[in-house]
C-alpha cells in the first residue's frame, strides 16, 4: 500500500467528485424532453426524425404502466433481434474469420445478457463473434440497455420529485435523448481518446505471429457445436495443445470499449477484457476507463438532488456510495497487498502482494481498484482475474454485487437500487421521529414498503435460490473446476453477477453449457426486469401522492445521520442475507488459507 497508490486513490475520488455536478447538470437537460443542449443544432433534427420514423408523440407522457410496458416491449424486441443475428451469424456479412452460428442456449444467454446490461460472456469474443455481431448485435445493446437504465432511474426520480400527477415521462423520448445527447457524443470523444492511447479500431482480419518459444497449454475439449465435452462424472475433459503461433486480434475495438465502460456494460471485445493490451493500453486509459464507469451513475445522484430541490440529499446519497466504495477498495487492496502467506512461506511471492492473475502493467492497487469499481457499478469489465484474488480480496467484488450494485451502480440501475434502500431506511427509522415515515414529503406506507421489499426479495431469491440449486445438482457442479469453499464462491459469484447484471466472472467455472446458459439467462432476466416492475410501480405511486411541506418534525434525508442510517440499513437489511453463504465461501477459504490450505 504505497504512497503513489494512495495518491491515485485520492485523485480518482477527487476527479469523480469534480465531474459529478457537470454530469448531473447535463443530465437535467438531457432528461428534460424540452431541455436545451449545445448539440441541439446537430441532433434536434435527427431526434425529431426518429420520433416521426417510429411514430412516437414526444409530448405525450406515460403513466408507470405505459412506461414499463414500453420498456419491456423494447427490450423484448431488441433481445429477439440480437438472438436472430447471433443464430444467423454464419450467413451474415462482416465475418472475415468465418465464425459459425451460436448454439441456441448460448445465443439466448448472450442476447439476454446484453439486453439486461449484464454482458456476461459465456464465450470468448475473439473466437466466437463476427464483426457484425460485435458491432450491431452487441454494441446496439451497449447503448440501449444503458439508456434504458438511465431512463428508468429518471422516471423514478420524476416520481419522487413530482406530485399529484400520474405520468413519469415518455420512455421513447428518454431512450432516444439519452442515446443521442449523452451516450453517443461522449463515446465518440472517449473512443478517440482511447485510440490515442493505442487502442485499435479497424476491420482487418486477425493477424498471426510465430511464437519465439512454443508453449503447451491445457484447455477444455469442445465438440463441433462448441460445447465442452464432459466425462462420466460430469467434469470437463481437458486436452493439451502445443501452441506455435499466436493469433493477434483485430477489429473495431475502441468504439465498443467506450460504451462498454460509460454504459457500465462491461462485455469485453476480447476474453481478457480490460487486461488485454489492446483493450486497455496505458495507465491513463486504465484510469479513464475506471472514471467513465462511475461517471454517469455519480452524475445521477446530482440529478436526483436537483430534481427534488434538495441538493444536500443528492450529495448524501453520493457520500453513502463513496463510503461503501472506499471500504471495499481498502479491504480488497489490503488483502491483495498482504498477499498469500503460503506463497510467502515458499518464497515464491511477488514483492508487492498477490500478483496471480494480475497484469504486471497494473499491479496490485490498480487491479484492486478496478475490481471494486467494476463490481460497485454493474459494469463487469475486468483488468485482472477476480478468481485469483485472495479470498478476502475476492470477497469484496462478490459482496459489492450482492448488495445490489448500489455503490454508484450500473447507469440508472445503481440509483434506483439505492433509492429502494433509501426508502427502507426512511421507513424503518422514520417511525422513530414520531411521524408516518416520509421521504421528501411523500408518505411511505404499506404499498411503497411492499414494492421496495419485493425488489429486495427478487435479489435474494434469485441469487440464493439458483446458487443453492447449482451446488447440489450435477448440472451445476459439472462446470466447476475448483472444489471446496472456492468453488462455492465461484458459483455464488456467477449467479450474483448474472442477477446483478454485472457480467464479470470468477473464472474457474465452465458456464457454456445448456444448464448454466439457461439458468444464468433466467437470473439476468429476473435481476433486471422483476426488479424494475416493482420499482416503477413505486415511482407511479409516489408521483400520485401529495407532498407534505417540510417542518421541524420532518425526517431529515441529508447530512451525516442520514448517511449513517442509510449505510446501516444497507448493511443490516441488504447484506446480512448473504452472510451465511459468504461465510461458507470466501470467509472460510480465507481462514483455511491462514492455516495453509488452498483451493
Amino acid at each position: 500500500m504505497e504512497a503513489a497508490d494512495w495518491f491515485q486513490l485520492v485523485v480518482y475520488v477527487a476527479a469523480l467528485a469534480a465531474i459529478t455536478k457537470p454530469m448531473g447538470l447535463y443530465l437535467m437537460r438531457v432528461l428534460d424532453a424540452n431541455g436545451r443542449t449545445w448539440l441541439d443544432p446537430l441532433l434536434r433534427p435527427l431526434e425529431r426524425l426518429t420520433y416521426r420514423f417510429v411514430g412516437v408523440k414526444p409530448d405525450c407522457e406515460q403513466d408507470w404502466k405505459q412506461y414499463t410496458v414500453a420498456m419491456l416491449i423494447f427490450s423484448l424486441v431488441s433481445c429477439l433481434f440480437t438472438y436472430a443475428i447471433l443464430r444467423l451469424q454464419h450467413l451474415l456479412p462482416l465475418n472475415p474469420q468465418g465464425f459459425g452460428a451460436l448454439s441456441p442456449d448460448l445465443a439466448f444467454n448472450t442476447a439476454v445478457s446484453f439486453t439486461t446490461n449484464t454482458n456476461w460472456q459465456s464465450y470468448s469474443g475473439e473466437s466466437t463473434m463476427s464483426y457484425l455481431s460485435q458491432m450491431v448485435a452487441l454494441t446496439l445493446h451497449n447503448f440501449t440497455s444503458a439508456a434504458t437504465g438511465i431512463a428508468l432511474a429518471a422516471a423514478l426520480v420524476r416520481g419522487i420529485a413530482r406530485h399529484s400527477v400520474k405520468t413519469l415521462g415518455n420512455f421513447w423520448v428518454d431512450l432516444v435523448r439519452v442515446t443521442y445527447y449523452l451516450l453517443l457524443p461522449i463515446c465518440l470523444v472517449f473512443a478517440v481518446v482511447l485510440v490515442s492511447q493505442g487502442m485499435i479500431q479497424n476491420f482487418k482480419p486477425y493477424t498471426t505471429a510465430k511464437l519465439v518459444e512454443p508453449m503447451k497449454i491445457s484447455v477444455a475439449k469442445v465438440d463441433q457445436d462448441g460445447k465442452p465435452v464432459t466425462d462420466k462424472a460430469g467434469r470437463p475433459v481437458m486436452e493439451t495443445h502445443t501452441v506455435t503461433e499466436q493469433t493477434i486480434v483485430q477489429g473495431p475495438m475502441a468504439s465498443q470499449v467506450a460504451i462498454k465502460m460509460l454504459g457500465t456494460n462491461g462485455g469485453g471485445y476480447v476474453n481478457a477484457n480490460a487486461a488485454h493490451p489492446f483493450e486497455n493500453p496505458t495507465p491513463l486509459s486504465n484510469f479513464l476507463q475506471m472514471l467513465s464507469i462511475f461517471a454517469i451513475g455519480s452524475g445521477l445522484t446530482y440529478f436526483l438532488g436537483r430534481m427534488v430541490s434538495n441538493q444536500a440529499h443528492g450529495w448524501s446519497v453520493w457520500a453513502a456510495m463513496m463510503a461503501l466504495f472506499l471500504g471495499g477498495v481498502l479491504l480488497c487492496w489490503h488483502s491483495e497487498a498482504a498477499g498469500n502467506p503460503i506463497h510467502q512461506q515458499l518464497g515464491v511471492a511477488a514483492a508487492d502482494g498477490n500478483m496471480e492473475g494480475k497484469e504486471v502493467r497494473f499491479g496490485v492497487f490498480n487491479s484492486a481498484l478496478f475490481a471494486t469499481v467494476t463490481t460497485d457499478a454493474s459494469c463487469g469489465a475486468v483488468n485482472a482475474m477476480h478468481d485469483s484474488f485472495t479470498p478476502l480480496g475476492g470477497f469484496v467484488p462478490l459482496f459489492n454485487i450482492q448488495l445490489g450494485e448500489i455503490i454508484v451502480g450500473g447507469v440508472g440501475a445503481g440509483l434506483y437500487g439505492m433509492l429502494v434502500f433509501v426508502i427502507l431506511a426512511v421507513f424503518i427509522a422514520g417511525l422513530m421521529v414520531g411521524r408516518t415515515p416520509e421521504y421528501l414529503g411523500k408518505k411511505i406506507q404499506s404499498y411503497e414498503v411492499k414494492m421496495a421489499m419485493l425488489a429486495l426479495l427478487v435479489l435474494a431469491v434469485s441469487i440464493l435460490g439458483f446458487a443453492a440449486w447449482a451446488v447440489v445438482s450435477s448440472w451445476g457442479l459439472a462446470g466447476l473446476n475448483n472444489g471446496g469453499p472456492h468453488g462455492l464462491s465461484e458459483i455464488l459469484y456467477a449467479f450474483s453477477s448474472a442477477n446483478g447484471n454485472n457480467g464479470s466472472a470468477f473464472a474457474g467455472l465452465t458456464t457454456n453449457t445448456p444448464w448454466w446458459n439457461t439458468t444464468l439467462g433466467l437470473a439476468m432476466l429476473t435481476g433486471r426486469f422483476l426488479m424494475i416492475v416493482p420499482i416503477m410501480a413505486l415511482a407511479g405511486l409516489l408521483a400520485r401522492q401529495k407532498v407534505s411541506p417540510p417542518s421541524a418534525g420532518t425526517f431529515p434525508v441529508a447530512g451525516g445521520t442520514f448517511v449513517g442510517l442509510l449505510l446501516g440499513t444497507i448493511l443490516l437489511v441488504g447484506a446480512l442475507n448473504f452472510l451465511p453463504a459468504l461465510t461458507l465461501g470466501p470467509v472460510v477459504e480465507h481462514l483455511l488459507m491462514l492455516h495453509g490450505k488452498l483451493f
Partner: protein, 679 residues
C-alpha cells in the same frame, strides 16, 4: 376509570394473561402475525425433531422449549396489553346496566326496557334516573353525574338547545327533569364504542402497522430463504446442518422482537389515550395524531383563560365615565354571557352602580341576535328614567346601526376602538340613541405556560393556528402574546372548514377541537377531530376522538401519544433488526465449527461450545421479548427536540444499542448455560 396505570406486575392482569398466551397459540390466530407464525412452525418442527434426534437430545429439547417460550412470550405481551384494557372495559360495563326507560308515547309515559329503545324515541329522566341511551335533551335542564364515563364526580349541566344538550347513556340525572330524544340504539352508543375500543375487539390494524407488518413478513421470508438455501450450501460443504439448528438460526434472524410486541404497542397506545380520558374511535385516528402538523385551536378556553373580561371604560369626548359605565351596565343587564356579566361587575366596582334596581322599572331588554350583533335596553320613559334606547356591540355593528339612525361615529371613538383592538382587547361601543358614549375594553387573559407549550409544538414541527371570532387586530395582538404561529380572525364555521381544506390541500394534516354543532363539519373534515364531551351530539359524532374532560389543551397530549406510538414501533423494529448482527456471530461459527475448526476466530464472544452458543442466542431472543414488554406498554419517551435530534438519540439507543446489547446478553447467558451444565 383510573388515571394511574396499573403496575406491570399487577397480578390481576398478569395471571389471566398467562392463560391467554396459551389460548393464542391457535394457528388460525397466529397466522395473522407472520413472524410469530413462522416461529410457531419452527417450534413445532424442533419438538418433532427432539423425538427423532439420535444424539444431543437434551440440547434439541431445550431449543424446542425456548422456541415455544418465544411464541408464548409474544402472546403474553399481547395478552397483558389487552388485559389492561379489559380491566377498564369491565368498569365501563358496570355503567351499562340495562335499565327500564320511561318512553313518551302520545304524551303518556310507558315503561320499556332500555335495549328496546329505537332512534328518535323520546324518554323522560328525572332526578335519580339513569339515562337509558345516548341522546339530546330536547326539553328542560338538569344536572347530570357523568362520573361513570369521565371519572369526574362534579355534576355537569345538560340543557336543551345550545351546545350542552348531549347526554350519554349510563350517566345519572341528579336534579330536575329532562326529555331526551334517543340518538343511538343499543350496541351503538358512546359507552359501547368506548368498551369496544378499550377491549380492542374491533381493533383494526392502522396504516403504519400494516406497512410494518409487510416489512416484517418480507424480512421473515428472506431469512426463511437464507436458512433453506443454507441446507444445500451445507451439503456442498460437507456440513449437513441439522434441522433444529437451522430453525434456531431462522428464529433468531427473523424480527421476533418487534413481531411479538407489535400488537401490544398499538393496544397500549390507545390504552394510554384512554387513561387521559380521551376516547378514540379508531387506532387510525391515534396514529394520525402523530402525523398532525397543523393544530387549529380555539382561542377561548384553550389559549386564553375562559372569557374576555371588561377592564376599562373609555368615554367619548364630553362624556363622563360614569355615564358610559351606567349605560354599558344597563345594556348588559340582560346579557348573561361572561363578557356581559363582567361589564356589570366592572361598573359596580368602579362607580358603585347598581343598574338592576333602576332597570326593574319599565325597561325592555333587547337580547343579542346574530342579525343585529348588538344587545341593549329600551326605556319607555315611565318611572323617572328618560325614554331612550341603549345599545352595545362591536364597532362595525354600531356603525351600521348609527347609519340607519343618521348618527355620527366620532373620530375619537374610532381611534379608541383601534387602540383597544391593537392592544389585543375587544372594543365594545356603547350608544344612547344617536350619541356614541364611548368604548368598553374587554381583554383576554392568556393562560400561563401556554407560550412555552407552543414553542414545544413548533419544535415538534407543528404549526398552531388560533381561531377566534375577534377582529384581525385583536386576534393579532393575542396571537403575538400567546406565541401562536398563525391566527384566523372573525372565523365562521364555514371559514374554519375552508381553512382545514386549504391546509389539507397543501399537504398538511390538521387537528382541531370543537364542541358546537356548527363545528361538526370542520371536525369531520379534520384529520384528527377532538370533540368535547360537553359538546353536542353532532360534534361528538363528527370527530374521531372525544375528550371526556372537555379540555381543549389535551390535543397536545394526544399528538404526543400518537408520536410515542410510532416511535416505539420504529425503535423496536430498529432494535430487532440490529440484534441480528450478534446472533450471526453467535450461531454461524457454531454451525460450522465441526467441519471448519478454523472458523474459531469468528466466535468473537468466545462462547463455550457450539451448542451453548446456539442455545444462548435462542434464549436471549426469547427473553428480550419479556424484557421489552414494559417499554412496549409504556412507550418510548417523546421529547419535542426536533426530528434530527430525536433520530440521533433513538438511533444511538436502539440502533447502536441493538447491535451491542445482544453481544453482552448472549455472552452472559452462555456463561450461565455453561455454569449450569445445561448442554
Amino acid at each position: 376509570m383510573t388515571a394511574k396505570p396499573p403496575s406491570l406486575l399487577d397480578w390481576h392482569i398478569a395471571a389471566p394473561a398467562v392463560g391467554e398466551s396459551f389460548k393464542k397459540l391457535d394457528p388460525r390466530r397466529m397466522f395473522r402475525n407472520p413472524v410469530m407464525f413462522v416461529t410457531l412452525i419452527g417450534a413445532a418442527l424442533t419438538t418433532a425433531a427432539a423425538f427423532t434426534a439420535p444424539a444431543s437430545r437434551g440440547f434439541v429439547i431445550q431449543l424446542a422449549v425456548w422456541l415455544w417460550f418465544t411464541v408464548l412470550f409474544a402472546n403474553f405481551a399481547e395478552a397483558v396489553a389487552e388485559g389492561r384494557g379489559k380491566a377498564q372495559a369491565d368498569s365501563l360495563r358496570k355503567a351499562r346496566k340495562d335499565t327500564v326507560a320511561r318512553r313518551l308515547h302520545d304524551g303518556r309515559e310507558e315503561p320499556i326496557p332500555a335495549p328496546e329503545l329505537r332512534q328518535g324515541d323520546l324518554v323522560v329522566c328525572e332526578a335519580g334516573d339513569v339515562i337509558p341511551a345516548d341522546g339530546e335533551v330536547i326539553e328542560g335542564i338538569a344536572s347530570v353525574d357523568e362520573a361513570a364515563i369521565t371519572g369526574e364526580s362534579a355534576p355537569v349541566i345538560r340543557e336543551s338547545g345550545g351546545d350542552r344538550c348531549a347526554v350519554t347513556g349510563g350517566t345519572r340525572v341528579i336534579s330536575d327533569r329532562i326529555v331526551i330524544r334517543v340518538t343511538a340504539e343499543k350496541g351503538h352508543g358512546f359507552l359501547d364504542r368506548m368498551i369496544a375500543m378499550v377491549e380492542g375487539a374491533r381493533r383494526q390494524k392502522t396504516p403504519n402497522e400494516i406497512a410494518l407488518t409487510i416489512l416484517l413478513a418480507a424480512l421473515t421470508f428472506i431469512f426463511l430463504l437464507v436458512c433453506v438455501t443454507l441446507k444445500p450450501f451445507g451439503i456442498y460443504s460437507a456440513t449437513p446442518f441439522p434441522l433444529p439448528v437451522l430453525v434456531a438460526l431462522l428464529v433468531c434472524l427473523i424480527p421476533t422482537t418487534i413481531g411479538g410486541l407489535l400488537s401490544a404497542i398499538g393496544i397500549s397506545g390507545i390504552d394510554r389515550l384512554i387513561r387521559r380520558n380521551v376516547m378514540a374511535t379508531s387506532g387510525r385516528a391515534v396514529e394520525a395524531a402523530g402525523d398532525v402538523d397543523v393544530l387549529l385551536l380555539d382561542k377561548t378556553g384553550t389559549i386564553t383563560l375562559g372569557n374576555r373580561m371588561a377592564t376599562a371604560f373609555l368615554p367619548a369626548p364630553h362624556v363622563t365615565p360614569e355615564r358610559l359605565a351606567a349605560a354599558a351596565q344597563f345594556a348588559s343587564l340582560a346579557d348573561e354571557t361572561p363578557e356581559g356579566r363582567s361589564i356589570v361587575v366592572l361598573a359596580k366596582q368602579q362607580f358603585n352602580l347598581r343598574g338592576r334596581e333602576v332597570a326593574e322599572q319599565q325597561a325592555k331588554f333587547v337580547p343579542f341576535t346574530a342579525q343585529t350583533r348588538m344587545s341593549g335596553v329600551d326605556f319607555s320613559g315611565a318611572n323617572g328614567h328618560p325614554p331612550c334606547a341603549i345599545r352595545k356591540g362591536a364597532a362595525e355593528a354600531i356603525r351600521v346601526y348609527l347609519d340607519q339612525l343618521g348618527g355620527q361615529f366620532p373620530a375619537a371613538v374610532s381611534q379608541a376602538v383601534d387602540e383597544v383592538a391593537r392592544a389585543g382587547g375587544t372594543p365594545l361601543v356603547v350608544v344612547e340613541d344617536r350619541d356614541v358614549l364611548g368604548v368598553v375594553q374587554l381583554k383576554d387573559v392568556v393562560k400561563g405556560g401556554i407560550k412555552e407549550r407552543f414553542a414545544q409544538l413548533r419544535a415538534m414541527g407543528i404549526r398552531t393556528v388560533m381561531i377566534t371570532g375577534d377582529n384581525p387586530l385583536t386576534a393579532a395582538a393575542i396571537a403575538a402574546e400567546a406565541g401562536v404561529d398563525d391566527f384566523m380572525a372573525q372565523a365562521t364555521p364555514e371559514a374554519k372548514l375552508r381553512r382545514i381544506r386549504e391546509e389539507q390541500a397543501a399537504g398538511h394534516l390538521v387537528a382541531m377541537t370543537g364542541d358546537g354543532t356548527n363545528d361538526a363539519p370542520a371536525l369531520a373534515q379534520a384529520d384528527v377531530g377532538v370533540a368535547m364531551n360537553t359538546g353536542t351530539q353532532a360534534a361528538r359524532e363528527a370527530g374521531n376522538m372525544v375528550d371526556l374532560d372537555s379540555n381543549p389543551t389535551k390535543l397536545i397530549d394526544i399528538v404526543e401519544i400518537g408520536k410515542q406510538m410510532l416511535i416505539t414501533r420504529g425503535a423496536l423494529t430498529t432494535f430487532s433488526i440490529a440484534n441480528d448482527v450478534a446472533k450471526y456471530f453467535a450461531i454461524v461459527p457454531a454451525m460450522l465449527m465441526a467441519t471448519f475448526p478454523v472458523i474459531a476466530p469468528l466466535n468473537v464472544m468466545r462462547l463455550a461450545s457450539p451448542e451453548s452458543a446456539i442455545l444462548s442466542a435462542v434464549i436471549f431472543n426469547a427473553l428480550v421479548i419479556i424484557a421489552l414488554i414494559p417499554l412496549a406498554l409504556r412507550g418510548v419517551a417523546y421529547k419535542p427536540i426536533g426530528a434530527l435530534a430525536i433520530l440521533q438519540r433513538n438511533l444511538l439507543i436502539y440502533g447502536l444499542g441493538g447491535v451491542v446489547i445482544p453481544f453482552l446478553g448472549i455472552k452472559a447467558i452462555d456463561v450461565l448455560v455453561t455454569a449450569l451444565k445445561l448442554v
